[in-house]
Amino acid sequence: MNGGLAKMTTDMDLPTPLLAVGTDATALPLPSEPVAGETLTSIKSHLDLVLLALESLTGIGSDGILQAAVALDLEMVVSDRVGLWRLRQSNPQRQSAHGRKTLDVEEARALVLMICHLAAAHQSLIRRAVTLLEQMTRQGKDPYRAALLGDYLDRFTNTYHERMKVPEHHTPDHLTHLACKLLVDLLFYSVPQGGRRLWLALFDFSLTLPPGNS
């Protein structure tokens, strides 16, 4: 496992020892195969987008995220606003992403833990939003007609346009679909096993984990 992770230095800075990722190394196991560059880009973008969806739904800002870092004893990784901004700037889709290109495993793990901590704290709100989305979809209605969903979608779209480089082929429906997808993802992250789910989903571990770890 360690030899495989040593090859992940192309785009992620891996601290040593690699298994000292956190207090519970088995909860967020590391991949045994090198992660491709495209996957790493997706990971950095995905974590930033999930945080963006969380901010749009719950209204939390940098202060709330930093409080989560303090609660999770992750101050060494995310110490202040600048540190948090630098972490999120690793998303290549950011408009000003040229300032930071790397995200090590410790920082990715910290972001995963903070996302799941905040999602668990707002689980009831997330579930209500997903249930509302299901209801509106089943009835064939526009999700914007529901106040909670409408506010969420508007805030997400606006923030996305503010921070991200919007591809030319992106339509408003595409952003709406992305917001709904991230909303459903947040629901699955809002449980105690959410961190492991997100971690495995990021690295698509199921294909590469050694036997007995899945």
């Binding site: 979809t137 997808k181 629901l187 789910r197 989903a201 199921s206 294909l207």
Partner: protein
């Protein structure tokens, strides 16, 4: 075998596990024949029946892996779910699938193919929240299974055990106490607790007086005869045995309290007991005991035993030294009827005096026993002799059921009166009984 049940409940999904464990099997070992049942809330708003999926532990583990892989590989993967719409109708399955699969039909619609699982549905459409609850239930089961906390050893119900032991002990103690109390009577005389108790003030009938056994007479020979030589018994003559008193002599014969309670009767009874011929034969000639007059029930100064003119050496039965105290119920009992007790006797005489008596009655007269009812009617008529029976229709007897005297006093229900009619027209009545 113990049947163990573990349930995991989530808003739209419940997972129920049932396993059997031998009594001597350790808690750390997994139970045998673990079965599961998943109960999913219906997807459609109008449906009320739960969707049930059953299977074995292996099938449950397989389902858990399928759901986990589906989440991490498809649904939650970065960029996953972007190519599908929000909602899509599930595809129709034309043939039965061999294994459990989960397919994404839309961002909010997922299709679970049950495969070998026991369920009436071959395909189950799950929305996002149902899949979320199902994944949580399966993950919780997996965590409990890995930490060997699926069926935790049940703590012993110490409170119930303590309460049962206390109740059993109390019942046993009460039973032993009751058994001892009923089997061995308490020593009344030596019990300090009873001795210290105050005597009750309610009147108590004293025990009947018991006469002391009459001592046998021991005649003393005069000195001139005592010095003579005693002649031997001639041959062929049996020496009769000295007669022994019966087991209960007259002196030991108990006198019932009822007899001792009334004046005349008790005196007569005691006198009769003293003059019992069997007693006389047993004890031989004895001095006639002098019976003192019984104290009156009402009033009068009772005589003390020491003042009574009785001497124990004279074989005189002892009588109560203090006036008998009767309970209130006994003193209120009506005394035996006398001639003047009821006015009906005089009314009967007056009735027969008004009748015309035939002169051919026998010289000794005729006697009828009349039973008078409570209302003064004749309830029964009995001739006491053949002559009385022959003259029954000539002496002017009242008809049965006819009221011919006044009603009896309140406590009495009937009275038996003997009526003797003489040839000269004289009428005599005797009260035989009064009830």
């Amino acid at each position: 075998m113990l049947t163990l049940t573990r349930q995991f409940h989530f808003p739209s999904c419940s997972l129920i596990l049932q396993g059997r464990r031998a009594l001597l099997q350790g808690w750390q070992r997994p139970p045998r024949s673990l079965q599961f049942e998943l109960r999913l809330a219906p997807t459609e708003p109008g449906e009320t029946e739960l969707i049930r999926i059953q299977g074995s532990a292996e099938q449950l583990s397989q389902l858990q892996q399928v759901v986990q892989q589906y989440l991490t590989r498809s649904l939650l993967a970065p960029g996953g779910g972007m190519a599908v719409p929000l909602h899509a109708a599930p595809a129709r399955v034309l043939k039965v699938q061999e294994s459990v699969t989960l397919t994404q039909r839309g961002l909010l619609t997922h299709e679970l193919t049950c495969g070998p699982l026991k369920t009436p549905h071959t395909q189950i459409e799950l929305n996002a929240t149902q899949l979320f609850d199902l994944a949580n239930a399966l993950d919780t089961y997996r965590q409990a299974q890995q930490t060997q906390q699926l069926f935790l050893p049940q703590p012993l119900p110490w409170r119930a055990i303590a309460a049962t032991v206390a109740l059993f002990t109390t019942v046993m103690a009460a039973g032993i106490f009751y058994w001892r109390r009923t089997s061995t009577p308490l020593p009344v005389a030596t019990s300090p607790a009873i001795e210290s108790m105050e005597r009750e003030t309610t009147p108590v009938i004293p025990p009947p007086p018991v006469a002391r056994p009459t001592p046998l007479p021991t005649p003393q020979l005069p000195p001139e005869l005592a010095g003579l030589e005693q002649l031997p018994v001639p041959a062929g003559v049996d020496v009769p045995a000295r007669p022994q008193p019966p087991a209960h002599s007259a002196g030991q014969r108990p006198v019932s309290g009822e007899r001792a309670n009334t004046g005349e009767n008790s005196t007569a009874t005691i006198a009769g007991a003293e003059t019992d011929p069997s007693t006389d034969a047993a004890t031989g000639p004895q001095p006639t005991p002098t019976v003192p007059a019984l104290p009156t029930l009402q009033g009068g100064t009772p005589e003390r035993a020491s003042e009574a003119p009785l001497a124990m050496g004279e074989a005189t039965p002892t009588l109560p030294t203090e006036p008998l105290r009767l309970p209130a119920s006994a003193t209120d009992r009506p005394s035996l009827p006398t001639r003047d007790a009821i006015a009906q006797l005089k009314e009967i005489e007056q009735y027969f005096a008004r009748q015309s008596h035939p002169t051919e009655l026998p010289a000794q007269g005729v006697v009828y026993r009349l039973t008078v009812g409570r209302d003064g009617s004749l309830t029964r008529l009995r001739p006491m002799s053949a002559a009385a029976a022959a003259a029954v229709d000539r002496v002017g007897l009242p008809r049965l059921g006819a009221v011919f005297v006044s009603p009896l006093a309140t406590p009495y229900r009937q009275a038996e009166v003997d009526v003797q009619l003489w040839p000269n027209g004289q009428v005599e009545t005797r009260l035989e009984s009064l009830q």
